[in-house]
């Protein structure tokens, strides 16, 4: 069965940090960061996360690849919003008879959510590059996350592999009998074949998933997420990492809420 092979992109020290600590720290960091109002502070937060990610040994290429996923959303926002929100014009684009005017208000409205999105994404990229899915599920279980959610995530991870595996088999079988997709959406045969393949994929995955479940039952599975007993106590490293991340995040948040005026910090 093809599994989701997890090759973590991060270095070693960060992998040693307890998954629970990483999870809590990153979630608090993201919540605080995405509720910031000040663009400069948001930028600082994003750079801070970037710094931590690089320190953790995550390859910049890996981060860039992850960030590409944000492009469709962020890109649309940045390229559309400045032109549709009325206000003070800052830049004009002449496209033949069409004249597009970008406004300062539009730009402001686009940049803030875009920065928030990038920061949140950096946070998630950091977490997933330094912690395996199994560790995250394990951590959720110990953090007393509702059992049903933990099981749902656990099973999703397990069965994605089942579905991918079935899909691969069907594609191979299709190819073996000369099926070549990609002749466009208008090709009746292609659409029909892919359609029935998808339907069969669900049926076959369902049946296989049931066999996997039976096999689990037969080895004493009772519907409870069982910890393998390799949890460790919170060490100094975990504590310093968690405390550092959370303190930094709250410090920025308090400055943003106006607790400490900028001018004081710059004096």
């Amino acid at each position: 069965m093809q599994g989701i092979e997890e090759r973590l992109a991060a270095g070693t020290w960060i992998r040693g940090v307890d998954a629970r600590v990483k999870l809590i720290a990153v979630v608090i960091f993201i919540i605080n960061a995405t509720t910031l109002q000040d663009k400069t502070l948001l930028m600082i937060t994003a750079f801070l996360l970037l710094g931590v990610s690089l320190l953790a040994g995550i390859a910049p290429v890996h981060l860039v690849k992850r960030l590409v996923l944000v492009l469709p959303f962020g890109g649309v926002m940045v390229s559309v919003l400045p032109f549709v929100i009325p206000g003070e014009p800052v830049w004009t684009l002449q496209l033949g008879v069409l004249k597009l005017v970008a406004t300062r208000e539009g730009w402001e409205a686009a940049v803030l959510p875009c920065l928030r999105m990038v920061t949140a994404f950096l946070g998630m990229a950091f977490l997933t590059s330094t912690t395996s899915l199994r560790e995250i599920i394990h951590a959720l279980n110990h953090l007393k996350f509702p059992r049903i959610f933990v099981l749902l995530i656990d099973f999703t991870v397990r069965y994605i592999a089942v579905v991918i595996d079935e899909l691969n088999r069907m594609q191979t079988a299709g190819k073996a009998r000369g099926f070549k997709p990609g002749r466009g959406l208008w090709d009746r045969h292609t659409v029909k074949t892919i359609g029935s393949m998808l339907a069969m994929l669900f049926l076959r995955s369902y049946e296989r998933a049931e066999r996997v479940y039976f096999a689990m039952l037969s080895r004493g599975y009772t519907g409870q997420y069982k910890c393998y007993g390799y949890c460790h106590r919170i060490k100094k490293l975990d504590f310093s990492f968690g405390a550092g991340m959370i303190t930094a995040s709250w410090a920025i948040k308090i400055i943003d809420m106006g607790g400490i005026p900028w001018s004081l910090l710059l004096k």
Partner: protein, 273 residues
């Protein structure tokens, strides 16, 4: 020998109305190697799923180690009867070989040193120790099968049940598997294998149980497989050795050979005479 599994008049109806078992009765004795033979759809897999408590008994009784099987003792049952599925891909789902073998013992409540020891022992037994940190899907089919068996052995069951153990295995894989099963049997474990391969059943098993359309057609020693009527009724075939000797009834005395060794002995006698 005392029976470890007693099935009495077991019937099972699937939700879609298919009758998979129809008043099926059989006995399996302690420490024996038993082959359950039957064509596809004869109810072999359904029967095996009852032995492990996956299918709940609808009609009839199933007794394992003198205890009547019911949903209330299914956890106990699963620690006594280990079920190895036909396709190891159905059984192996964890990220590493080690984790997968540990799945059963963890469900039994084992942790720490004890868990480590159980997993190590099971992997050592199937000669897969050096693969413990590997991702299972990179392994060959035969290796996966061995991991699947280790996953069951780690639970330390008294009875090991295998569904089509040799399906898709190459000759070397088959040989290794049967050596493993014989070794387990010598340790006192009862081994039950469902198959439609008459040659393997004839060569390996102490006892043969033939299923047809959800009923037990016959049970006894491998010599049963020389009975043409039974074999035909069960939609099986004669073992290859028996088929060769069938046209020569004079050579089949005192009994028709079913295994290669028996045939070799007859030929040796012929040559020396």
């Amino acid at each position: 020998m005392e029976p470890v599994i007693e099935v009495t008049e077991l019937s099972f109806l699937y939700k879609d109305g298919t009758r998979a078992l129809d008043k099926c009765s059989l006995t399996i004795e302690c420490g024996t190697k038993v082959a359950i033979l039957g064509p596809n759809g004869s109810g072999k897999s359904t029967l095996l799923l009852h032995l492990n408590g996956i299918h709940v008994v609808q009609q009839g009784t199933v007794k394992v180690l003198q205890e009547t099987v019911s949903p209330s003792n299914e956890q106990w049952l699963r620690s006594k009867v280990g079920l190895v599925f036909q396709d190891p891909d159905d059984q192996i789902f964890s990220g590493t070989v080690w984790e997968d073998v540990a799945f059963g013992p963890v469900n039994q409540g084992l942790r720490g040193e004890e868990l480590e020891a159980r997993v190590r022992q099971a992997l050592h037994f199937v000669k897969m120790e050096q693969y413990s940190r590997k991702v299972p899907y990179h392994l060959s089919y035969g290796q996966k099968k061995r991991v699947a068996i280790a996953g069951v052995l780690a639970m330390n069951p008294d009875i090991i049940v295998l569904d089509e153990p040799v399906a898709f295995l190459d000759p070397a894989g088959k040989r290794a598997l049967f050596e493993l099963l014989d070794q387990l049997n010598r340790q006192g474990k009862t081994i039950v294998a469902a198959t439609h391969n008459v040659d393997i059943a004839a060569r390996w098993a102490h006892k043969i149980i033939i299923l047809s359309e959800g009923r037990v057609l016959a049970q006894g020693t491998p010599a049963l497989l020389t009975d043409k009527t039974i074999v035909q009724e069960a939609e099986l075939e004669l073992p290859a050795v028996t088929e060769i000797f069938a046209p020569f009834p004079d050579l089949c005395k005192p009994k028709t050979p079913v295994t290669v060794e028996e045939a070799q002995n007859i030929i040796k006698q012929l040559v020396t005479n």
